[in-house]
Each structure stands twice: as C-alpha cells, then as structure tokens.
C-alpha cells in the first residue's frame, strides 16, 4: 500500500463543520424556494399584519399593548419555525431522496458533522431573520427593542431553533418522498400558527382551541419570545416553563430522529 494513514482528529472535525456550514448556507441562499418561503414570507407577513392592524391595541396578560408590538415576536416565532423546521424538513427530504445524503455518507465525513452543520445553518439563518424582523419593527413601526430582557430573547431564539431542528429530523423520517414534504409540513404548521397566537391573539380563541395549542410547542415558543419582548416585562424575561416544554419537544424529536432517521432514499 502506497498511501499513508491520515487520522483526522477532533480539531480538524471542528474545521470540517465550518467547511460544511459554508456550503449548507450557500445551498439555502441559492435555492429559490428557500429564499421565498423561508426568508421573504415571514417579512411579508410582518408587513401585512403590522400595516393592517399595527396601530390597534389588544390585551395580553392583562395589559394593553399595540398590535405592532404583539406581531414582532409572533413573526419571529414564525421565522424560527420557517428556517429551523419547514425549510429543514423540505431540504433534507429532498437531499435524502435525490441520494445526496447517501453519497455524503459514502465519504469519510462523520454523520454528526453533517447534522451539526445543517442545524447550525438553520440556527444562523433564524438569528439573522429574527434580527431583521426586529429591526424592521423598530424602524417602520416604532416597536420597542428589549434592553434588559435581550439575553432572554436571544436565548429563546436559540432554544427554539435547536428544538425545531431536532423535530425537523424526526418529521423528515416520516415523509417518504420529496413532493409530499412541502404540503405535509404546511398542513402541520399553518393551523398551529393560527391557534398559537401568531396571527390572532389567543385571548380571541375558544378554550378548546387554546387547550389543543397548549400541547404543541409553537404557542410556548411564541409565549417565551413575547415575554422577553414585552416592554411591560420585569426581571430577566425568561419564560422557564414555556422554554422547558419547547426543549422537551426538541428532545422527543431528537430521540425519534436517532431511532428512525435514514440517509438512504425511501421512495422507489
């Protein structure tokens, strides 16, 4: 044998994640579907809802706030789910069915590097999108930006992104082909947006609907982001119970993903 054995160490593994991350981000940004549904659509929702109802007021947790202040964290929730869940499910299903994942697993790159990089790409995209939403809210609609509760807000974004990424790997394992990924995921998320206070304050919903929403993680991520964003919040602004439920959903997703996730095409 002429070749010499080169053992990649853990330091080069970190470099490998950075290498993969660069291309994962490039792939998302170059994909027209990702650009529209993941990046543009949350911003369009922000502009539509805030323009229509922004100057009205609503009651949340017993105090009066402007709808624009209500919608910014709501659209942030939508943005996190769009980047970490919807986009991730659709892209990894497509990559799995087209054989891209299987081919990558034929190379020496470790599975965890591919997963970590793709989750990081979604999380980075989520953070940037949330920042853009907040800045647009401030500039266009004069929405207050949190000060002392900013760490709680950022923490909630990161926990939400990580948990929904785990759920995405679990959800993708149930979808057999790439054509059904988009409709299935929209069918899951759209109703949840409506009952979880993203578009309509939950105070306007029946207790049955609210009871259903409470089971799922969307309303809890929304609550956590709202608490950290609400100017009336005092203290750290960390919604411990809501974040815990989001984390539990993430852990459940992770366990299902570890058990079921496949690198090989499922249709055919």
């Amino acid at each position: 044998m002429t070749s010499t054995r080169v053992e990649p160490g853990s330091r080069s593994d970190a470099r490998l994640v950075a290498h993969q991350l660069r291309y994962d981000l490039l792939l998302i940004l170059r994909d027209p579907q990702s650009r529209f549904f993941t990046i543009a659509l949350p911003l369009i929702f922000l502009v539509i809802f805030t323009s229509l109802f922004g100057h009205d007021t609503t009651h949340v947790n017993g105090h009066k706030i402007k709808f624009s202040t209500y919608y910014v964290p709501g659209i942030c929730t939508l943005g996190i789910i769009a980047t970490s869940f919807v986009n991730l499910v659709i892209t990894i299903t497509a990559q799995r069915e087209s054989g891209v994942l299987k081919r990558r697993r034929s190379t020496p790159v470790p599975a965890w590097v591919l997963i970590a990089s793709r989750m990081l790409a979604s999380a980075i995209l989520a953070l940037v999108l949330v920042a853009v939403i907040v800045v647009i809210g401030r500039i266009a609609y004069g929405v207050h930006i949190p000060g002392s509760t900013m760490p709680a807000f950022v923490l909630s974004v990161i926990i939400g992104a990580a948990a929904f990424c785990c759920m995405a790997f679990a959800a993708a394992s149930f979808i057999r082909n790439e054509d059904s990924a988009q409709p299935i995921i929209q069918a899951i998320t759209l109703p949840l947006y409506f009952i979880s206070g993203i578009f309509i304050p939950t105070s306007q919903l029946s207790s049955t609907l609210k009871g259903i929403a409470d089971v799922f993680p969307v309303i809890h991520l929304n609550n956590a982001l709202f608490k950290a964003f609400d100017p009336a919040t005092t203290g750290s602004g960390i919604a411990g119970k809501d974040l815990l439920i989001v984390v539990l959903w993430g852990v459940a997703g992770l366990i299902i993903a570890l058990w079921r996730f496949s690198w090989s095409p499922q249709s055919s």
């Binding site: 080169v6 291309y23 299987k102 020496p108 790159v109």
Partner: protein, 324 residues
C-alpha cells in the same frame, strides 16, 4: 480501450502473479441477506483483484444492488464473510471510507452548487484529496466547471458523480450502472474515462445492464441470478461462449426458403420473415465452402453474411432466463 474479445488484462488478473492474497481487494464468502423471510442473496462468493475492472451482471431483483450496498457499507448482511480492502464494510471507519469511491445508481448532485464548488465541498471530506481542477479535467468538464450542476445535462451530471467518487483518490471505485440514460456518444466517452481509471491502477467494481459496456470494459464478469452466482468468466469465455458453436447468419434471396438449403449444412433456423437464416457450425470453413458451392451452383447471391460466436447478450439471456 480494449477491443471486445481480446483480453490481455484478463489473463494477467487470473494468472498466478495477481491471485495471491495481497492482491485481493474484495473477498466475499457465503454472503446471505434476507428481508422479512425473503432471501435476496443466498450464498454468494466473490473475489475482486487489484487493478481489474470487475463486472457484476444480473437482472433486476437478482440481488445485485443488495450485494453492492453490503460491499459499500450501506447495508448490513444476514450472514457470510465480507472483506473489502481488508476490512468488514459493516464496521468500516473513516480511513476505509477515504479509500473507497462510490457512484450510486441514482443520485443527483447538489443542483445549486457549481461543478467546482461541489468538488471542493467533497474534497474537504478527505484526508488527502486530489486536486479539484485535475479531477474536473479527468471527467472532461473543465469548460463547465463554473456552471451550476442543476443546469448540466444528465450525462454531465453523471460525470460530476464520477468526479465526486474520485476526488478522495480512492483505491477502489464502485460504479453502479454509470451510463444508464446516456446517449451513445456520451456512453462511448464514459467508457474511455472508466478505462482511464484502470490505467491509473484503480480497482473498479462495475454493475451494468448493457452487454456492450461489459464487453468493452470488463476484465472479468460474474452473473448473479435469484441471489446466487450462476456464471463467471471473461467477456470471451462467459457461459462457455468460447466453446459454443459459431453462428453463421445470412439473408437468402427473395423467394428462396431455408428448406431449400442443402441438408449437409445442418438445421437452418429462420430468424425472421425477411429470409434471414442462421446455421450453427463447429467447422466454419467447411460449412462456408458447402454454402458458397451451393449458392454458386444455384446462382444465388447470399448477403448480410456474418460469422461469430454467440453474442455476450445471448449468453447472458440464456444464463438469466427464468425457469420454464
């Protein structure tokens, strides 16, 4: 490219010089694989030697893809011994993966990356990759290197596939139906490229549905049917092809039936309605002389005359024919 029939590399591969243990790249003994009670692979034995183009043939559902996936480390087996580059692919580590290149049967390349970006991404996975421009040159895509993969033709995308399998400078390359869907000229240049890999000293494990591809490239052919090996040989010897009687086919003039041929020629089989007939012969010259004497005597013109051993395709179809 080697001419069909002539097989200098074959003799070398089978000769005592190459068959010793250090030159065995793949060794499979008693491989079995069952899915839910159905036995897809039932006791397969194989050996692949360093530097040869080993061709694995078999109809769909014969256990070909299952076997290849086990060798690539993508599938666990039910029973049997498997050694690929000295290791069990089921427990293969990163070092092993860096020595094996895989072109999967059906896979698309990342449509949003250019050819160069795609190769740079994969080059980053390997401890000692080849140079990206060099590999792009090798698969003949230098002029297309800045084009996004999604805009390439099917044949060009398949070349990117092959390039991705070569970027890590592997010792062994699996090519699973590499030219399916190619037009004839794209297939011809793909063959030249695969033959070029042999020149680089790579060991190639090729599966294909095209007999002309096997004939043009293979040093050795193994045929699998219903999960078991049914034949092994070179393109020239497979299924006793080199011992089979010659087939003499020709067209009779209009109005002349095959029954009019002299009985000394043996039984003549009409191949179609247009007067094309075939006779089998162990002694070609004697048969030809009898045929031409008869034709000259009768003042007939014999056309489309062809003398050959049974085609590889005929041998293959006979070997893989379902039981009647």
């Amino acid at each position: 490219m080697r001419t069909p029939g002539g097989a200098p590399a074959t003799e070398a591969a089978l000769g005592s010089g190459q068959a010793d243990a250090s030159n065995v790249v793949i060794k499979v003994a008693g491989l079995r694989m069952s899915y839910d009670g159905f036995e897809a692979v039932r006791g397969v034995d194989l050996q692949v030697f360093r530097g040869e183009i080993f061709t694995f043939l078999g109809p769909n559902g014969a256990g070909k893809t299952t076997t290849v996936e086990i060798l690539e480390g993508h599938r666990k087996r039910t029973a049997g011994e498997v050694r690929v580059l000295g290791e069990d692919p089921e427990h293969a580590d990163r070092w092993w993966r860096s020595r094996v290149g895989v072109v999967l049967q059906s896979s698309r390349v990342e449509p949003q990356l250019t050819v160069r970006e795609c190769l740079e991404l994969y080059a980053g996975y390997y401890p000692a990759p080849r140079s990206v421009p060099e590999v792009i040159e090798l698969v003949g895509l230098t002029k297309r290197s800045e084009v996004r993969c999604g805009q390439l033709s099917g044949g060009q995308q398949r070349r990117v596939d092959v390039a991705l399998a070569l970027i890590g400078d592997p010792e062994l390359v699996f090519l699973d139906e590499p030219t399916t869907g190619f037009d004839p000229s794209a297939r011809r240049s793909a063959w030249e490229m695969i033959d070029g890999l042999r020149q680089l000293g790579k060991t190639i494990f090729l599966t294909t549905h095209y007999m002309d591809e096997a004939e043009a490239l293979a040093d050795r052919i193994v045929v699998i049917k219903a999960g078991a090996i049914v034949a092994e040989g070179t393109p020239a010897t497979l299924g006793g092809r080199d011992h089979a009687p010659y087939q003499i086919t020709f067209s009779l003039p209009a109005g002349v039936a095959s029954g009019q041929l002299p009985h000394t020629l043996g039984p003549a089989r009409a191949l179609d309605q247009s007067g094309k007939v075939m006779i089998e012969s162990e002694q070609v010259m004697a048969t030809m002389q009898a045929l031409s004497s008869w034709a000259l005597e009768q003042r007939f013109e014999i056309s489309d005359l062809l003398v050959r051993r049974p085609a590889l395709e005929d041998v293959y179809l006979e070997l893989t024919e379902p039981p009647k």
